[in-house]
Amino acid sequence: MTLSTIQALVLRNLFLYTRTPVRLVELLFWPLVDLLVWGYLTVFLQKHTGDTFPYQITFLIGSVILWDIIFRAQQGVALYFLEDVWSRNLLNVFSAPVTNADYLLSTYAIGLLRAAVTSLMLSVLAILLYSFNLFELNWSLIPFVFNLLLFGWSLGMISTALIVRWGPAAETLAWAVPFFIQPFAAVYYPVASLPPAIQWIAQCIPCSYIFEGMRDGLNSGGVSWSDLGMATGLNVIYLIFAGWLFVRVMKTAREKGLLTKFVSQ
């Protein structure tokens, strides 16, 4: 692992954003659309329910912001690989002295930056437009958000591994993978809302504990340590699995010549 290599790979992505402002559409516009739609839906429901308005619905706005942290972190990892495919730069990178660790750490950094930019913008707009302040969670926000990042990175590594394994036709997985798990992740509704037969799926997903824990935190003002502990434990398992899968698939890719297929497409 080399710091200068990681810096170079991160720099390359930063250059991309400064060179191509239209990329900000993906980073800022779509999350903003989500916030506006869910935010005004919340306002509408609030007006029509008056005092009986449950806090879970207010948290829809928080859910939008927090889900975007997972999504942007995952995209940071998965799109990073695809950027090299699209620009026919893949072999230049993989024939350079770049280790798997260098590569992954730089994608984590990009994922972190993407998540930070988007979530900061959404958080400020949520305060201004809907008086919803995610920062009411104070310091307890940090471990929860960190866990969301970890999960996003894991999903990103899994997405990239699947794309490498199945080839360019599987590019769409870079966007689809997070949404495979979203219905079970307790993002917009509690796990208890799911049919009992499939609640076990939610219990295997780290972010379901984060969303449950943060809903409780905003309601009670306390920190749900059990949810945080479960999320962290599961995240460690997911990270180890995703890292193993990535390294395994890269080894297979070198054996089967899969990386060169991205160049000849």
Partner: protein
């Protein structure tokens, strides 16, 4: 005699039923330009990809700078570089941005000065602030070469560097290739379909066909061995399935 810079021994690559590289052995000496010649499907690119560590060999061994590639890939890659017509640097970055990124990856000292040097060498210094994607094919190839020269590689792999270039630019690329070898003692593995490239640039040629080496020698030795007047006519004879006896000489 010093150890070869690159030593390929009994290299085999199988993809299922296919065997694009079938037991090839050759070496490159210090400061030598070795041509890898063969029709499409001869196994040249697969061989280069194995030397770069992008494809793992099924059997055989690759030693670079006396070290085993399979065990010391990253340390070896720091001392070599690669340029191919089939790869590009990100088109949405400026020329200097692309070179900064790869310069940092290869840990190039005095990077700003080195970037100016390579741009000057390839006569594209005036394009330094241009968007890479807006360069012509010839300019883009020269930018790729700049990237490949940034770290003053001891071993340089050039995969068809003059493909799609006009004769003037192709001539410049050939001259630069020789200049790098003459001035910096770089060893170069050079694949091409262009017979003129091979005759003008390469000290020796590895002639490949269907994954095997037909002959290794100078262009003159190859012509004499196969009793042909030019490499081009030999190339066409081989590509069209003319009777060629697999043989090797060094």
């Amino acid at each position: 005699m010093s150890e070869p810079v690159l030593q390929v021994s009994n290299l085999v690559k199988k993809f299922g039923e296919l065997t694009p590289v079938d037991g090839i052995s050759f070496e490159i000496r210090q400061g030598e330009i070795l041509g890898l010649l063969g029709a499409n499907g001869a196994g040249k690119t697969t061989a280069i990809n194995m030397i770069l560590g992008i494809v793992t060999p099924t059997a055989g061994e690759i030693r670079v700078f006396g070290k085993e590639l399979a065990k010391e890939r990253i340390a070896i890659l720091r001392r070599m570089n690669f340029c191919s017509t089939y790869t590009q640097l990100p088109g949405n970055l400026r020329v200097w941005q692309n070179l900064v990124v790869f310069g940092k990856i290869y840990r190039v000292p005095h990077l700003k000065t080195r970037i100016d040097e390579v741009l000057e060498m390839l006569e594209i210094r005036h394009l330094k602030n241009r968007i890479s994607g807006n360069l012509s094919a010839g300019e883009s190839t020269r930018l790729n070469l700049c990237k490949a020269l940034l770290n003053k590689p001891e071993l340089l792999l050039l995969d068809e560097p003059t493909a799609s270039l006009d004769p003037d630019i192709a001539d410049k690329v050939r001259k630069v290739t020789r200049r790098i070898r003459d001035e910096e003692g770089t060893s170069i593995l050079y694949t091409s379909h262009n017979m003129r490239d091979v005759e003008e640039v390469c000290d020796r040629v590895v002639f490949m066909h269907q994954g095997k080496i037909l002959f290794i020698g100078t262009a003159a030795e190859i012509l004499s061995h196969f009793q042909e007047e030019s490499l081009e006519s030999l190339f066409i004879r081989v590509a069209r399935g003319g009777e060629i006896e697999a043989a090797s000489a060094s």
